[in-house]
């Protein structure tokens, strides 16, 4: 039983060490082999699409068959999924029908969904930005200054200094904060990578240190 847990950890470690070594040691055949490994990753990962398709299909087929709650929507999903898939696999992707569906249906849905964010922003600004604490107050005032700075009208309402202040906030404290987060996160990413390579983080194996 135990080797079923050990083998994956060994594979992880071997793949990781190989990637690291081929990054730093540029002596043939390592660069070529590294390209091969990149290809292996892309090709093997591509096969996961069946898992996704099976998941969507089973979930919604089950709803349609059992006439469960909301089953007509599941039918819509399945028809769109398999209809568009057939179109994309049989007709050329550059073909007019495929492109037409993309531009007018998928594109419209994306654009509309994205533009909804403006409204969510409005309710969040009204509800969540309360001056509950000193921190929240600073956050709110900074946000307000930056917003006014983005209004062409900003100079006239606030007498000229607000856009300059907004620019300063973006240039100084924001740059410092962004860089601090970036550096901390990069260290965290490195540590997580080491833990995964050493088999310390192994939620997929049901390990304790997960």
């Amino acid at each position: 039983m135990q080797w079923r847990k050990k083998l994956p950890i060994l594979i992880t470690l071997a793949a990781g060490i190989f990637v690291v070594v081929s990054r730093f040691v540029k002596i043939e055949p390592l660069p070529t082999l590294s390209g091969t490994l990149d290809e292996w990753f892309l090709v093997s990962a591509a096969f996961a699409f069946v898992i996704g398709m099976a998941n969507l299909t089973r979930l919604h087929l089950l709803k349609v068959r059992s006439r469960g709650k909301d089953w007509p929507y599941s039918l819509v999903l399945l028809v769109c999924l398999y209809g568009y898939l057939t179109l994309g696999l049989t007709v050329s992707v550059q073909g007019p029908a495929y492109e037409w569906v993309y531009r007018n249906i998928l594109g419209a849905l994306q654009g509309a969904m994205f533009s909804l964010l403006a409204f969510f922003t409005a309710s969040a600004a009204y509800r969540a930005f309360r001056i509950r604490s000193a921190e929240a107050t600073v956050l709110m005032i900074t946000a307000a200054v930056v917003m006014v700075g983005n209004i062409p009208l900003g100079e006239s309402i606030a007498g000229g200094n607000i856009p300059g202040l907004a620019q300063w906030i973006l240039d100084v404290p924001n740059t410092a904060g962004a860089r601090g987060i970036l550096l901390g996160a990069a260290v965290g990413a490195l540590a997580t990578s080491v833990r995964i390579l050493l088999g310390l983080e192994r939620a997929h194996l049901g390990g304790p240190g997960a």
Partner: protein, 256 residues
């Protein structure tokens, strides 16, 4: 050639790995286990799962966009592992929404293992680890609908999030879920701060696995992370000092 202009990088990586290894050795020998400061967002994950269970509502987890090439996704696996084990323990229903196909495969395995370990393999429903399409807003639309329709009680979003973070967090709020959001994407953090109950900022998501497991060996690696940051702070102070004096040799060394 060996180490083309990456000598400093190689050395940095080597030292880092050595430090991590040293701390692992030290904590597994039990000589010294560092104490970690409280991270409120991580504590709240358990609270949220507990409350959702009491209310009889499901728990929802999503690792956000991107695959294993995003380090945030790697961090999310450990957190999902914890969420899944807690959900299995309380016998709460767990729904996981996925964006990337290989990540979907990995997450199914993580949840399956958690239920297996809790002795309830029959309670694992592979259909609850869902694929939500690999389109940013297709995924967002799907998750927003799910949060409302499944009456989600706890919504935990940790991983790589971009503009869709707002849709997820605001929909979760409207559905009345207790929420934890965490990412390193600074442009998404404001949305989690305003709409979620707790936010994990930047590196906090990488400390999560070790923090939640309370495993001494993993905790040791957090101390190694801290040592690396102290080293970086030292370098920045030294470099700034030298630069102010007009000396740039440290930059040259780091570019080696």
């Amino acid at each position: 050639m060996f180490l083309e202009e990456a000598g400093a990088q190689f050395l940095f990586m080597l030292i880092f790995v050595a430090v991590v290894y040293f701390f692992i050795q030290r904590s597994s020998a039990g000589t010294h286990v560092p104490e970690i400061r409280k991270v409120a967002g991580l504590e709240y994950i358990d609270t949220a799962i507990g409350r959702a269970t009491e209310m009889g509502r499901p728990v929802h987890f999503t690792p956000g966009l991107f695959g294993v090439d995003a380090p945030e996704t790697l961090a999310s696996f450990a957190i999902l592992g914890h969420v899944a084990r807690e959900s299995a323990r309380y016998d709460a229903r767990l729904i996981v929404s996925n964006f990337e196909l290989p990540v979907l495969g990995i997450n199914q395995e993580i949840v399956r293992q958690a239920y297996l370990e809790a002795g309830r393999p029959e309670r694992f429903n592979p259909l609850d680890v869902r694929y939500m399409s690999s389109d940013q807003f297709g995924y967002a639309a799907g998750v927003a609908g799910l949060l409302h329709r499944e009456n989600v009680g706890a919504n935990i979003m940790v991983g790589a999030f971009a503009a869709e973070a707002m849709v997820l967090a605001e929909s979760g709020y409207q559905a009345g879920a207790l929420q934890v959001g965490g990412t390193t994407f600074i442009q998404s953090l404001p949305w989690f701060i305003v709409a979620a109950d707790h936010t994990l900022i930047g590196e906090e998501i990488y400390a999560a696995g070790a923090y939640l497991s309370r495993d001494p060996v993993l905790t040791g690696t957090i101390a190694a992370q801290d040592l690396a940051k102290i080293g970086i702070i030292g370098l920045v102070i030294l470099g700034t000092f030298l630069n102010t004096l007009g000396l740039t040799w440290l930059e040259t060394v780091l570019s080696w």
